[in-house]
């Protein structure tokens, strides 16, 4: 758990971060979203003390981050930046082993961990360990950047626009991978982005920043249904807020008993992981009223009707 208390960063002529307090729960993804100059990156960098705050403090699992040297603190916190920042003169394996080596791990442990992470990120260790960063594609470089940040099993992972340099299709894949990784390792992630869609896709909680201040910090659906001010409303897109709300719920969560509707033999079927937005779109496209939800094994586990989906598109 990360507790941020009245964190402020003042430069001579401006206040980059202005009295921000928030609590980031364990094992969750918190996305900080804002325009450029909103102070979101500064806030993130004050968590690992790449930037020293003017006032306020940060507690990670109850421990004040000021209680140890900055570089020692940073070895316990994963950090991923836009454009990956891999060391060009080191192989993939050496890049990933950076923090474990700083911490003095044994070589055999580093090798095991490196292989495990490469596997988790769908990079074959045998094929990629000895490659240099310039021999990888943009998406692969980004994944190695994530692997390097996770190498020393940090409890906290900070990500600053980690997918900013990727093209849209690879970005979506990278976002899914991140959700998988988060589930697998249970890491507490704080991610900074200017992309509200990314924030909604990834965030268990979303913090909106503007001009150095924290405007609203809540679950994504609350941002849509009860925006704190006009800026948040504009950001979350008031014209399509119903759709955004639907995109936050999965078919599995909303599934009704089989008795809810009659499904045709060749009717619409959707996986439990599909969002209601996707299900509605599919129903509209097929001109159908009833969809069957399939679980991971492909067994039907429930139904969804247009009416039940529409009911979820309204603030409750």
């Amino acid at each position: 758990m990360i507790v941020i208390e009245s964190l402020t960063k003042r430069y001579e002529s401006m206040t980059a971060v202005d009295d921000v307090s928030m609590v980031v729960e364990r094992n969750s993804i918190t996305v900080v979203v804002g325009t450029s100059g909103s102070g979101k990156s500064t806030l993130l960098r004050m968590i690992n003390r790449l930037i020293e705050p003017t006032s306020g403090r940060v507690l990670i699992d109850g421990r004040d981050t000021e209680s140890e040297a900055g570089h020692v603190l940073r070895r316990r916190i994963g950090y991923v930046i836009q454009g990956h920042g891999l060391f060009p003169h080191r192989t993939v394996a050496e890049n990933i082993g950076t923090v474990p080596r700083l911490l003095g791990w044994e070589e055999s442990r580093i090798r095991t961990r490196t292989a495990q992470l490469l596997g988790a990120l769908q990079l074959d260790p045998g094929q990629y360990s000895e490659k240099y960063p310039h021999q990888l594609s943009g998406g692969q470089q980004q994944r190695v950047g994530v692997a390097r940040a996770l190498a020393a099993e940090p409890a906290v992972l900070l990500m600053d626009e980690p997918f900013g340099a990727l093209d849209p299709i690879i970005r979506e894949k990278a976002q899914d991978d991140l959700l998988d990784i988060q589930r697998k390792f249970g890491t507490t992630i704080v991610l900074v982005t200017h992309d509200i869609d990314e924030a909604f896709r990834l965030g268990d909680r979303v913090a909106v920043m503007s001009a150095g201040r924290l405007i609203q910090y809540d679950r994504p659906e609350v941002l849509v249904t009860r925006p704190a001010d006009a800026l948040v409303a504009r950001m979350t897109g008031s014209a399509e807020r119903a759709m955004r709300l639907l995109s936050l719920t999965t078919a599995g969560e909303a599934a009704l008993p089989f008795s809810a509707c009659e499904a045709a033999a060749d009717g619409v079927v959707v996986p439990t992981s599909a969002s209601l937005r996707e299900v509605l779109s599919e129903l509209l496209w097929r001109g159908s009223e009833c969809a069957t939800v399939l679980d991971a094994d492909g067994t039907p586990c429930g139904r969804l009707t247009v009416a039940s989906i529409m009911a979820r598109g309204r603030p409750s």
């Binding site: 570089h71 603190l73 950090y79 836009q82 920042g85 060391f87 060009p88 003169h89 310039h134």
Partner: protein, 246 residues
């Protein structure tokens, strides 16, 4: 193409070694340049030992230049050292623009004749290329890579040793290469203040109007410079292959 280059290199090295070890064999080549029965091959000293001490002087001065120039380059690229950049630059520029002959003339009264004044002149003369390349190399490390290094928890020294210097190494070596080559030639001047070196052959030739001496001293020095240039360039290429910056 690469094989041809290797053969050429080995041929040049073989030629240089043969000339320095058994110079008398080359006498017929140089004889047409002599007049009045003067010797065709330098006979007042052993060419091999002269070449070795020439090389030793240059290398010793170069080691000094590397240590000081790289240290200065590191200093002025640290957060607290930037204010020293103009001063350091002025000092190394002075070392480069002040004529080595004048340095020799000034140094002799202080340290006497022999190797010492030559070492001082070469050391000063070789600083600039290494310093400038170190500053550029360290100053152009990609910002994202440096941020990542800090974010990983490297302290300032670890960042310098394991990220910045390796990334700057190809450029630093290029500076060393330029400095070495300039000084192989410049070191011939040392013979005017009694330093052992191939300059002795050239000066002897000038004093006795023996063009054969001048030419053989010049050729041996030139070949040595080309081979050194080539050797350091090969080292640079090896480093660049791994330390590729994308």
């Amino acid at each position: 193409m690469r094989r041809a280059a290797t053969i050429l290199r080995l041929a040049a090295l073989g030629l240089l070694l043969a000339f320095l070890l058994v110079p008398q064999r080359f006498a017929p080549l140089f004889a047409p340049l002599t007049a009045g029965g003067a010797p065709a091959i330098y006979d007042q000293g052993n060419l091999w030992t002269l070449a070795l001490s020439h090389l030793a002087t240059v290398l010793a001065a170069c080691v000094g230049s590397i240590v000081i120039a790289v240290a200065l380059g590191i200093l002025v690229t640290r957060p607290g050292g930037q204010e020293f950049l103009p001063l350091s630059r002025a000092v190394v520029n002075f070392g480069q623009t002040f004529p080595p002959v004048a340095v020799l003339a000034l140094a002799v009264p202080l340290v006497g004749f022999g190797e010492k004044p030559t070492l001082i002149a070469l050391f000063l003369y070789g600083l600039l290329p290494i310093f400038e390349n170190t500053v550029v190399g360290l100053g152009t490390c990609p910002a994202t890579v440096l941020e990542a290094a800090s974010g990983m928890g490297m302290n300032a020294r670890q960042k310098l040793v394991s990220v910045e210097l390796p990334l700057a190494m190809p450029l630093i070596l290029e500076g060393v290469r330029i400095s070495l080559v300039i000084n192989i030639g410049t070191a011939t001047l040392g013979s005017t203040v009694a330093a052992k070196g191939l300059g002795e052959v050239i000066i002897a030739g000038l004093l006795s109007s023996n063009m054969a001496f001048v030419l053989q001293g010049g050729l041996a020095t030139g070949l040595m410079a080309v081979l050194l240039y080539d050797g350091v360039a090969a080292l640079e290429r090896r480093l660049c292959r791994t330390a590729r910056i994308d």
